[in-house]
């Protein structure tokens, strides 16, 4: 097809990610040179090989797909694994399995999704499925860490909110591309109605689960997608006003919201109580300074939830400002490239779908890091790809796989049949 299919850039950029995994394995082996720790190398090499398998798969089955996303995914995942290994080797081993599952999912999405338009047909199904998941969680979910956001299926536990993210994006993209004219010119109740109902239900269900972080992310995502579809700044402003009102109501209704806000305003008087996490996270970041304490050199017991919500504080402590800036840069590049992919979409649904996936990824990054450094009130959400958490990791791999597939589809010349197989 006359396109460069060698994907040299991707192959080259995957090298540092694999080198990072290997040198990390070497470091931990040197620190504890027991024979059974040789599995570290096997794990690192196997993972490195799988990233290259994905690389070849993209070259074979997804011509023209973006060449930066996979290396960045590998880099961030690898970094997360190395940080987790020091915090708790068992978590890292689990996360390693989740990564392989995620890569499998990513490959599946790339192979199966040959066309994306059919997704729009099922938008209401997806939305209902999403709401059903959340309702189910509210009714029979388990409570962990103050939020009732887990569903158990026998041994298998997962966080439905993660799946719902993907479902909501598809719904929003489909709905908004159908109704964009009515939004742009004369907003009517009938065009707003389903959106308001779905969005409202979503918020209520998340707040009832006390999953404030997810609520915040969904809200910002819906607003951003509305703005992209309509170009009407007043919608965004109205949304912000509504958010302000809802937050105020939530503040007076829920004591745990009040605590969060108090910590946000000044954590120091609460340093021995509810402000403990954020203060310890501050200390970790400060201890890192410019160059950091070194990989594996922080004290994993100092920050509660270091493996999940606070993985970035650990990264900032061990890798310093330089390492933390590099991580931020990588997340920023995903945001930049993702929107570039969306921009190249041939139709509105594709644009909104790719844009929504990218925005969700960026928003989630900003909400958790912003919370850690006290720009925002802290809400417990995972840092995409780096935090420990199977549901989150696998869903992020699926979403990035979809984004990769979309980038390949958008790169095809206009009119090229996508149903060629």
């Amino acid at each position: 097809m006359g396109m460069d299919q060698s994907r040299k850039q991707e192959a080259l950029l995957l090298l540092p990610a694999v080198a990072l995994l290997l040198s990390g394995a070497l470091l931990y082996y040197v620190l504890a040179p027991e024979p059974e720790n040789r599995y570290l190398f096997i794990g690192a090499i196997l993972l490195g090989c799988l990233y290259y398998v994905l690389h070849f798969l993209l070259g074979w089955q997804a011509k023209g797909a973006d060449q930066l996303l996979l290396p960045i995914t590998a880099m961030l995942t690898g970094l997360g694994l190395l940080l987790l290994y020091h915090l708790d080797p068992n978590l890292a081993i689990k996360q390693w399995f989740w990564t392989i599952l995620g890569l499998g999912g990513m490959a599946g999405v790339i192979l199966v999704v040959r066309d994306y338009h059919w997704l729009a047909e099922f938008k209401y199904t997806f939305m209902l499925l999403g709401l059903a998941f959340l309702v189910l969680t509210v009714i029979i979910g388990d409570e962990t860490g103050g939020a009732r956001s887990w569903l158990s299926l026998g041994q298998f536990r997962f966080q439905p909110a993660e799946v719902v993210k993907l479902l909501v994006i598809v719904f929003m993209a489909g709905y908004l591309s159908d109704h964009k004219e009515s939004f742009a010119f004369r907003p009517e109740l009938q065009s707003f109605g389903p959106l308001m109902v779905a969005g409202g239900l979503l918020m209520v269900l998340l707040v009832v689960q006390k999953d404030l972080g997810a609520a915040l992310i969904f809200f910002a995502l819906i607003l951003a997608m509305l703005y992209v579809a309509s170009g009407r700044a007043e919608i965004a402003i109205m949304g912000l006003v509504a958010f302000g009102l809802a937050s105020t109501v939530a503040y007076y209704l829920f004591p745990h919201v009040q605590t969060r806000v108090a910590i946000w305003q000044n954590p120091w008087p609460l340093a021995d109580g509810p402000g403990y996490q954020i203060v310890q996270s501050y200390f970790s970041l400060a201890q890192g300074g410019i160059l950091g304490m070194g990989l594996g050199m922080s004290n994993p017991k100092f920050i509660p939830a270091a493996a999940t919500d606070f993985i970035f504080s650990v990264a900032g402590g061990e890798l310093g400002f330089l390492g933390a800036s590099l991580i931020l840069f990588l997340y920023g590049v995903v945001g930049w490239k993702g929107i570039k992919i969306a921009y190249s979409a041939p139709d509105d649904f594709g644009l909104l779908l790719a844009g929504g996936l990218t925005l969700l990824f960026s928003l989630q990054t900003l909400v958790i890091i912003g919370g850690i450094i006290k720009l925002l009130p802290l809400t417990g959400v995972t840092l995409p790809l780096m935090s420990y958490g199977g549901s989150s990791l696998v869903i992020n791999y699926l979403m990035l796989g979809l984004l990769l597939r979309l980038s390949s589809l958008f790169a095809l010349p206009e009119g090229t049949a996508v149903h060629e197989n």
Binding site: L31, K180, A224, Y227, V228, A229, S230, G231, A271, D272, V279, Q280, Y282, F283, S284, L285, A286, Q287, G288, G289, I290, N299, F302, G316, G320, F321, A324, S325, L328, Y331, G332, G335, W336, I339, A342, Y343, D348, L351, L352, G355, L359, S362, L366, I369, G370, I373, K374, L375
Partner: protein
């Protein structure tokens, strides 16, 4: 739709930049403040990970050591609180415990490498033992001589610059510090303030030594001159007075009787530039003690008015000096014009090993000619023999000295006395300041006398 998308992208990237800036603020700007925070477990853990080295005086008398029950003990108590200091995860650090913490925690040299591996292996690290130039007995005795008055004493070895005593009163006891901390903080006499190196006082007439050095360097025939003291000197619309009418008087008598007229006249003659140059050679406006935050002594902002220069010439006006600085001036004169850079840290040793002998680095600078120094020495000996410093006389020892009383807005004048002995080969140079104690001969003189007597007999 595409335009909107690009706008959203700008906002997203902007958010990333904001996050980066906020992160930089924590990791780069607020870093040291956060490290000092009492709740910072990293700092506490670092302290606990290392067994701090112990601190010894110049004769290997322990100043800070670990008891069998694992408590860090400071045998000098209040007397040694300031130079030895403390290090506490909760209260921060001060004194040698803080200034030399990288040595005491073994962070460089051979122990630094060893400790790196120990840290990886989770074995307790050890720090260097350090030896200070302090003489524990002199430190203790000097502290008792101040008798709880607010003030400071600094004693130097003129030939080497070694600090024999660094006394600030009232002091504090580094033992059980956390129990007494609130009392110290609330005490209006400010016992946690190290007056010897952080307190700056108008040096009063002791500053005449600096003016005298500059004048002698400028005019080799100064000794032949006759001055006339009518009891005051007229400046621009302002009179500076002498406490008596000295009449016809020469330079040597001018020092001995501390005649303001002579020195204001000399100060105006040599001018601001020469005076500053001489003062800076002695250490004014300089960092004088490596690794220790000594407050800089100074002459105030240039240029000085005529009145300002006249006041400076007698150590009033904008001139401010630490007791350490005035001890340095005295030591340089005593050492024949060579200023030995002050030293507090004599050496370090891996625990279990002896301190290396003769590791002292001598750094001497000539700050005036030998002749100038000899003249000033003679004038200071005269001060003690027949002038204002007679209270510093020690039987059988030739003592040189200079009194000073520093007028200040906080009540009675601060009493200064600087001195050295024995005059032919000085072993010790001392600066004493007692706050609000009136004239210098009265309170400072006897302190210098007792310290010289004590130290010289300890050498025999």
């Amino acid at each position: 739709m595409r335009t909107n998308l690009l706008r959203v992208r700008v906002i997203v990237i902007l958010c990333f930049v904001i996050v980066l800036v906020a992160l930089g603020r924590i990791q780069l700007l607020e870093r040291s403040e956060l490290a000092r925070h009492p709740a910072n477990r990293y700092t506490i853990a670092k302290e606990n990970r290392v067994k701090r080295g112990e601190i010894f005086d110049r004769n290997k008398v322990p100043l800070a050591f670990w008891t069998d029950s694992g408590i860090r003990h400071y045998p000098l108590g209040y007397a040694g609180g300031h130079p030895i200091g403390y290090s506490s995860a909760k209260l921060g650090s001060s004194g040698a415990e803080g200034w030399y913490s990288s040595q005491l925690l073994g962070q460089d040299g051979a122990l630094g490498i060893k400790n790196f591996w120990h840290r990886l292996a989770g074995v307790q690290e050890t720090g260097y033992n350090i030896q200070l130039t302090i003489d524990a007995n002199l430190q203790e005795y000097g502290y008792s001589l101040l008798g709880g008055n607010k003030g400071a004493i600094v004693a130097l070895k003129p030939k080497t610059g070694e600090i024999l005593a660094l006394i600030s009163s009232p002091g504090f006891d580094p033992n059980d510090l956390h129990l007494k901390w609130d009392d110290y903080v609330n005490n209006s006499d400010n016992p946690l303030f190290n007056r010897a190196i952080s307190g700056t006082y108008p040096p009063g007439s002791t500053f005449k030594l600096v003016v005298g050095a500059a004048a002698l360097e400028a005019d080799p025939n100064l000794l032949d001159r006759e001055f006339e003291c009518p009891g005051y000197i007229q400046l621009e619309g302002r009179q500076l007075t002498c406490y008596t009418t000295h009449g016809r008087i020469n330079f040597m008598e001018g020092v001995a009787y501390s005649c303001n007229v002579v020195f204001v006249q000399l100060g105006l003659e040599i001018g601001e530039q020469q005076l500053r140059k001489q003062a800076e050679a002695f250490g004014f406006e300089q960092d004088v003690l490596e690794g220790v935050p000594v407050k800089k002594s100074g002459l105030g902002d240039a240029p000085l008015t005529v009145n300002g220069l006249g006041e400076s010439a007698i150590g009033q006006g904008k001139v401010m000096a630490t007791p350490l600085q005035m001890a340095m001036v005295t030591a340089a004169i005593a050492n024949g014009g060579l200023l030995a850079e002050p030293v507090l840290l004599l050496g370090r040793a891996v625990p279990g090993e002896d301190f290396p002998a003769g590791s002292l680095n001598l750094a001497q600078t000539r700050v005036m000619s030998r002749e100038t120094a000899e003249i000033l020495k003679e004038a200071m000996v005269g001060t003690v023999v027949y002038g204002t410093g007679q209270q510093a006389q020690v039987a059988g020892v030739e003592v040189g000295g200079k009194t000073g009383s520093a007028e200040n807005p906080h009540g009675q004048a601060h009493a200064w006395f600087v001195g050295f002995a024995p005059a032919d080969s000085p072993e010790i140079a001392i600066a004493v300041v007692v706050e609000n104690a009136g004239s210098g001969g009265g309170l400072g003189g006897p302190v210098v006398r007792e310290l010289i007597n004590y130290y010289l007999s300890s050498l025999q």
